[in-house]
Amino acid sequence: MSEDVDPGGTLLEVRDLRVTFGRRGAWLGSRADGRGSWFRSRADRRGSWFRSPAERQSGRFVAVDGVSLAVAPDEIVGLVGESGSGKTTVARAVVGLVRPDSGSVLLDGVPLGPVGRRTTAQQRAAQMVFQDPRSSLSPRMTVAAIIDEAWRTHPSSAPPGDRTAALHRLLDDVGLDASVARHRADELSGGQCQRVSIARALAVRPRLLVCDEAVSALDVSVQAQILRLLVDLRERHHLAMLFISHDLGVVHQIADRIAVMRRGVVVEEGLTADVLGSPRHEYTRGLLDAALELSTAGAENST
């Protein structure tokens, strides 16, 4: 993809990323009879009993095995795949929470290190929204304190002058009432918590939002609200997004382009309508066949 995208038009580029994890749990070892072991169940969580030759050789778990993708400014790129395919690891590498074994993450063409080695501007540029809105917010802090913490971490992003007014503008931006500022996260509903998470990410005026299953834990009627909010925010703030989800329908609604991951590798990518409308890779077709469509349900029931 990096070849056919104008480099001037790329905000984020992930180049040949490879991430492995150590042999945690090796003390359990393999059973003498070869039936079942910690590794087997770990491999199985990736959706198969598969271990790559590299994995067998190094004994390390290869989470991401040579992934390249690019996100242009204003673009929403969907990253889909089953659990264990490496979607989240890619996301965490983008925001600098895991250190890749090789490959690089580039912002405006500049390679980024782990989060501690990034400049303030680089840290601010990519912000993450997590799946579980409750566990990603401190239950003991008020919403005002949560937002203020973001501003204290990145003083360059803090609004000059009256922070209360800025806080209310920010809450209004994500569709929350100003009165929410006084509440603690554990007093809020799941949808409100996710709006606060988004507000916290927006507080430092990022250019890229990394949304890791950001609507998956929400009730269906609330899910639609948050999707609408993300799309509106993209337009209002010219945000780019890396939108990770296992729900193909949701990704189809909001992503411009899509990459399908399986076992640490991108197996297919392209414009969302092309990939999901006429998939070329067998795995993508399998995912689409397994996905349930409301429109075809009636026919099955009548049989």
Binding site: S41, S221, Q225, H252, I254, A290, A291, L294, A297, G298
Partner: protein, 340 residues
């Protein structure tokens, strides 16, 4: 499958008479909270006919899981119940604990969302699947044979080997298959499935759902499928019950309800489900958050989010009423919705 019926023949009359297996009649569940009680399930009424899958759908706090738990006697301590849960005419809410234990597993069985939490990590799968048979005093060889049959029926490959494995050695999908085998061991007439595929990947979900469908059809089981996912219910359930804030918003045949919802909440749910192969425009989202039994708006609980709400909805709570043959809805303007 006939072989599974040989050990526990089930009265055939159920399927022929058409009397409901389970009648939920005005079910009320109150949970104690500091300084009072919260009504988490409020006058819920529906039937589960024999050999039929009923989908129970709702968002968090809608009372769907509490309703299912009441059927198998898994309500939290201090829960007060009202109304009736009639199992073949017998009120389960007033049955003795001993009687309920007899029914549990043998007549009504349940599979849960998280099979890893529901299975015993220290026992091999085969032992757990066979427990109900061993306790019934069946000979060892017969129990083993039956466990093999059940695991095979649930689609566990190489059952003779895998029955000696432990839950942590199984993948999520295999664990759910083991749970299904376990639930079927007592040859129940009703299978309760609470979010059985929510924790699973889509490809695994599709396989488990088609397994549940085929078991339901082949065994002539009745099934209550509790889910927040309309797509899951749509693919498996013959009838659907939509719950909102502890009450039934709408119920009826799945195909009819999804094609023409008689309640604005159902309609919003249907509209919020995106298609996968084609791009669906973002649904116009409902405002606000789902009402919970703890903060139930007056009148119709759905009115603050309802696009059709009028003055009447703010004060007068709609009772579920018949709006078309086989269909009930708790909305003052159901006919208006249906005639659109």
């Amino acid at each position: 499958m006939s072989r599974t019926r040989t050990s526990h023949p089930r009265p055939v009359s159920d399927a022929t008479t058409g009397d409901p297996l389970l009648e939920v009649d005005g079910l009320v569940i109150d949970l104690p909270v500091a300084g009072g009680a919260i009504r988490v399930v409020d006058r819920v009424t529906f039937d589960i006919p024999p050999a039929t899958t009923v989908g129970l759908i709702g968002e968090s706090g809608s009372g769907k899981t509490m309703t299912a738990n009441a059927m198998i006697g898994l309500l939290p301590n201090g829960a007060a119940t009202g109304g009736e849960l009639r199992w073949r005419g017998e009120d389960l809410l007033r049955a003795s604990p001993a009687r309920r234990r007899r029914l549990r597993g043998h007549e009504i069985a349940m599979i849960f969302q998280d099979p890893l939490a529901a299975l015993n990590p220290t026992q091999a799968i085969g032992r757990q699947v066979g427990e109900i048979l061993r306790r019934a005093g069946r000979p060892r060889a017969e129990v083993r044979q039956r466990v093999l049959e059940l695991l095979e029926l649930a689609g566990v490959p190489e059952p003779a080997t895998r029955m000696r494995s432990y839950p942590h050695e199984f993948s999520g999908g295999m664990r759910q298959r083991a749970m299904i085998a376990l639930a079927l061991a007592g040859s129940p007439a009703l299978l309760l499935a609470d979010e059985p595929t929510t924790a699973l990947d889509v490809t695994v979900q599709a396989r488990i759902l088609s397994l549940l469908r085929s078991i339901q059809q082949e065994q002539g089981l009745a099934m209550l499928l509790v889910s927040h996912d309309l797509r899951v219910v749509a693919h498996v359930a013959h009838q659907v019950v939509v719950m909102y804030a502890g009450r039934v918003a709408e119920r009826g045949p799945t195909t009819a309800v999804l094609a023409r919802p008689a309640h604005p909440y159902t309609r919003a749910l249907v509209e919020s489900v995106p298609a996968v192969r084609t791009r669906t425009a973002l649904a116009h989202p409902l405002p606000g958050t789902p009402a919970t039994p703890a903060n139930r708006p007056p009148g119709c609980a759905f009115h603050p989010r309802c696009p059709l709400a009028r003055d009447r909805c703010r004060t007068e709570e709609p009772e579920p009423r018949s709006v078309a043959p086989g269909r009930w809805a708790a909305c003052h303007f159901a006919e208006e919705l249906l005639s659109r």
